[in-house]
Symmetry: C2
């Protein structure tokens, strides 16, 4: 490898990087490159890459930003295929830097050089070993691969991880992600035998589709944990739909992580606690957790935390309780949490472990120890280390008391048992690991395709665009939905009163009359809708009324006539929608209409294309789901029909990427078996 | 002081306690008491308390449980007025222990001895100084008083606090709280000049009323932070009311802590982080937080955490931004978070501090540092220590990187600036401290009393009880509510059809008819209610119908007749209720009726007696509050009338402690100015 910009000068990044590489024990050849030196640290220093005796596999570049492009150009000519550009002064530093990075990218592409950075801390690999970073300390070896979009966080984490004995297989500072991004590294880590778990700090992903594909595949072989920063919405683009208002990139990321199985950490600390958990212990097979403790208080704290986290305090088998009763003092609690009492020595813990671990009624075990007068801290750690492995279950230790338990912690660590300072941390970690079990046991998603008339939709969109519009009027939206097999309310466009009367007879009273005009989108607001019309007299009055209102309130609107529509039976109202996320594409939303969506924001999101399972999950996720199941003597709603509608929406927005917003509001849902109807719908196309 | 059960034998608690006392530098005389020794550690050992040369002020008792009572008896006879009973084997250890504790309490009371414990770790006081615990390490001096219902947690915390440099003024293991409890210690800590903040681990409180009174008073002079364990509901007593089902002791504790201003920590770690924050820095005057950082990533993490916590990322004044722009490099961000860039030395931090700290637009400051190549960690800590004090604002440091920043941490600590490992921890602590500011600025609550007819209620209750019932029938409940000035729907009890017809005429059609029987409480379920009766024919049919249904479905019920009631205009429906908590007494609940309470559990709780402010706060807390304010063109509801009803409920349940459950469901609320009506109500009396 070449280190371009290598230096001996104290304080220079080029010195720190070279020192780190040399100290790390990198087994290959290292060529310092710097025209101002003949030798650096006893190594021959070359004036340029082209002067090297052989083409290096990797170039680490630490020269001032304006010089980087030329250096990379030379690397390319010399046959270098990979570079780590540590230099800053690119996209992150304003317009000039942005231009510089664009040129640099072109250079890299032209030569086919894959680049990490620029503006990064570098990368380390504890297996090779290689530490090509300018961090002041090196990552310890371990099974966690960490990548970070913040170089500063990398250095901060190195300090924390040393104190907390977290080791890394790879340590990657992503920098500006000019070329290689999170998905590329995920891909390379998939087959890396030294990596058991991947942790990432991301502020965003470069390419949503690529990330989804790669992360889902990688997640099936090892856990991928992400801390996503930047949750605060930066001034989102103007949106006009309900769905658009509620969607936001945060919901898109949540849906994306769920789709691909990436586990989300709530805090930076949780990211590493979870990574450590996975690197040491198998994920729990189920939610049932047993607790062994020598103190009531921490046992209660653990129970509370379990309850709140959605895990379950396991019920021990009667046999287990009986054996514990025989072996433990009378005052001990033999139900979960098992309290071995404050005077418990190591052997009492061992006895409890031997009975509780094999009990098939629990999936994971927390062993809590507080240092008391009779406590054998070290010996208890040994007993736990000896017993824990036999069960094949997730075993966590909560030996409390800071440096009093330091030696025990080391013993536990040696046997792959992580220790936590507080019960709550152990429980949060268990819950995160359980989510991975859930992902792995998730059935492969089945996606259906319906026979539809895509040509008709294309035609409609073309005609809308030909008229210089980007928003469809109701009758056009209706055509689109019909072409995609949606049940829609029976509707006839009447351009005059005579047609209107004929239409009403054809549809049969009672009917609804709505104004039809491309400029009037919120029809109700201007008195453009009359419902429940039962006879011709009322129909005539309604016709006059809605057209007069339209002329009065929107004088500029060209009026196409009125829509005569069948009056629907009483039904529950849902909203279905789609908002296109700039990163992950179509984000589907479902919720119950009215107050549920407007005030309670009781909605669920998933990315399209949707599977049937996901659609069903979305509805179940709603707090108001029970309203669909039938409450207060109502019959259940036709949930299967709703799911079919969701899948048809998914297919429509997948087939036509030009749809950027879509609302069906309301979707009227009849009783079970009687289907549902899109009563009103909006579609907005890309400009 | 006397140490009864003092010993030299290794492993004996009596040895550890005596050693701790002697090592702590206790300035008074220490008398070991133990009949089996003549001397312990070169101190004369006395066979009994009565043999001592003087009566000790304090006795620490570490003898086996069966001997404790006799020892205490002797203490009493010798004039001892205070004892710490460390010995275990009492209430916590089963029936025999329970009996022993009861006897012990009698002995203590008889002699007027105040007792801490039994079954505790002891107590320490770093000001005296005195360490009368059997913990293996001593608490460091500091301003935090800690009391704990779990002795094991005490020992665990001592280890953690040493690592995290948290010092204590008092350290109290409450044990079984046979005599002295959390409220007694709160009271004693109120005036303790060495204590700036009180932290407590509690599984429950001994006496709800006493705790509320004391904690509210103490909270006004220093913050009281509580970690409440045992959130999981232990098999609650059977409840029959809506309110009772939703209440639970967890909601009672939440309401109690809110009432008395005790701050609640979510985790044990947060308890101590918050205590440390209060012990070092003033609470923020408001929610606006400025952030100075040398790295983008941690700045984003802090911003996200602020947003999520309900605090606000402060807007810096234009002047501040301009000054920063002049002083900082071009690439720096001069808006909040202020990014001084990765190569910032101490002076750049100082410049930013000098401009940001005096800006009146922020109430608190987070200073984030990640160790990078040019970072002057130590010097930056010095700069921060020098600048921070000048502003009188809350200043927190987030110097990340473990032991790399250890020296800086020490410098900061010396200047009273706590350092946090991660931005999220700093933000959680700030939020907790902000809650204290909110409590201090809360207006004194005003409580009104209405003129009511308590005698009438007493009469009704007596008559119900005379009939061997504990649940009032509707007509009785109505009398009670009327006596307390509640607007109720006009209602006449008709014992036969003729009376029924007369009543309907008197009230005027349309009317409602309901079956009246003491055994039929859920009238609708058995077809015992007919609404919207418009004429005499329908009335007769309704009368026959409801009485026939009652006879058919509840043949055992004695039927008093039917209630004829005015038909109310359309209105919004609320539920008001009270459930009596075993610890804190009457817990008032309010929520919107129907799905809001049943499914969404959108309800608010406060303890009675309610102030007007609290009642209003309860309604505002509801997610569905907007429905009362008027939505979708509806007029606002008569919120003032609802609040009056809540206050009348509060007065009723305070005046009559025998009411253990009460539901007004629904309370029908008319448009603003038109009042509200209790349409149906239940009252259950204590057995």
């Amino acid at each position: 490898m070449a280190v371009i910009g290598a230096s001996e000068k104290p304080g220079k990044v080029g010195r720190v990087v070279l020192e780190n590489i040399l100290r790390s024990g990198f087994p290959g050849k290292v060529y310092p490159v710097n025209p101002s030196h003949d030798a650096v640290f006893d190594l021959t220093c070359y004036p340029s890459v082209s002067a090297l005796p052989e083409a290096p596999d990797l170039a680490v570049i630490i020269v001032p930003a304006p010089a980087v492009r030329e250096v990379l150009e030379e690397c390319g000519s010399s046959g270098v295929k990979a570079a780590v550009i540590i230099s800053a002064g690119f996209k992150e530093s304003g317009r000039e830097g942005y231009r510089r990075e664009t040129e640099l990218r072109d250079t890299a592409r032209r030569h086919g050089i894959r680049v990490l950075g620029p503006n990064c801390l570098g990368l380390a690999d504890t297996a090779t070993p290689l530490n090509a970073t300018f961090a002041t300390r090196a990552p310890q070896p371990g099974k966690v691969a960490f990548m970070s979009q913040s170089g500063a966080l990398c250095t901060a984490v190195l300090g924390w991880s040393q104190e907390n004995h977290l080791g890394f297989s790879r340590f990657i500072s992503l920098g500006n992600k000019m070329d290689l991004d999170e998905s590329d590294f995920l891909e390379s880590l998939e087959k890396d035998g030294n990596t058991a778990v991947i942790a990432a700090y991301l502020e965003g992903v470069n390419d949503g589709d690529k990330f989804l594909q790669v992360a889902e595949r990688v997640s099936r072989s090892k856990p991928v944990i992400v801390f996503k920063a930047g949750v605060t919405e930066a001034g989102a683009r103007a949106v006009s739909s309900h769905t658009g208002t509620l969607a936001g990139s945060e919901n898109a990321y949540t849906a994306a992580f769920r789709r691909c199985g990436a586990l989300r950490a709530e805090t930076v600390e949780d990211l590493f606690l979870l990574a450590r958990g996975f690197s040491l212990q198998p994920p729990p097979r189920g939610p049932r957790v047993a607790v062994i403790t020598n103190a009531g208080g921490p046992g209660i704290i653990a129970s509370d935390a379990l309850e709140r986290s959605g895990l379950v305090l396991a019920s021990l088998a009667e046999d287990t309780a009986r054996s514990l009763r025989e072996g433990l003092p009378e005052a001990a609690s033999v139900y979960n949490p098992v309290d071995v009492l404050g005077d418990a020595g190591a052997e009492r813990y061992r006895l409890a472990l031997r009975h509780v671990l094999p009990d098939p009624g629990n999936d994971a075990l927390l062993v809590i120890l507080t240092p008391q007068a009779m406590t054998e801290i070290r010996e208890t750690a040994v007993a736990l280390a000896e017993e824990a492995g036999k069960a094949g279950k997730t075993v966590f230790a909560v030996f409390m008391g800071g440096d009093e338990v330091a030696e025990a912690e080391e013993i536990l660590r040696g046997s792959g048992i992580p220790n936590f300072r507080f019960p709550e941390e152990a429980v949060r970690t268990l819950r995160g690991m359980k989510a991975y079990t859930d992902f792995l046991s998730r059935p492969r998603l089945t996606r259906v395709r319906f026979a539809v008339d895509a040509g008709k939709v294309r035609q409609t969109f073309d005609s809308v665009r030909a008229q210089g519009r980007k928003e469809l009027v109701e009758v056009e939206a209706r055509e689109v939905f019909q072409a995609y097999g949606f049940p829609v309310a029976r509707t006839i466009l009447a351009t005059n009163l005579e047609e209107c009367i004929r239409a009403a007879r054809e549809i049969a009273y009672p009917v609804v009359v709505k104004i039809a005009s491309p400029l009037i989108l919120h029809k109700t607001d201007i008195g453009g809708v009359v419902v429940g019309i039962g006879n011709t007299d009322d129909l005539i009055a309604a016709y006059e009324n809605v057209t007069a209102n339209a002329r009065k309130f929107v004088p500029a609107a060209s009026i196409w006539g009125v829509l005569v529509q069948e009056m629907l039976p009483p039904s529950r109202e849902l909203i279905l929608g789609m908002s296109r996320d700039s990163q992950f594409g179509p984000l589907i939303m479902a919720g119950l209409g009215g107050v549920y969506v407007e005030v309670l924001k009781d909605v669920a999101f998933r990315l399209a294309p949707l599977s049937e399972e996901e659609a069903r999950e979305m509805l179940r996720e709603l707090k108001s789901y029970w309203l669909l199941q039938g409450a207060r003597g109502e019959k259940p709603a036709d949930i299967d029909a709703v799911i079919e509608c969701m899948l048809r929406v998914s297919q429509l927005v997948t087939d036509f990427p030009e749809i950027i917003e879509l609302d069906i509001n309301p979707l009227r849902v009849m009783e079970d078996g009687k289907g549902c109807l899109a009563a009103d719908a909006r579609i907005v196309l890309e400009e």
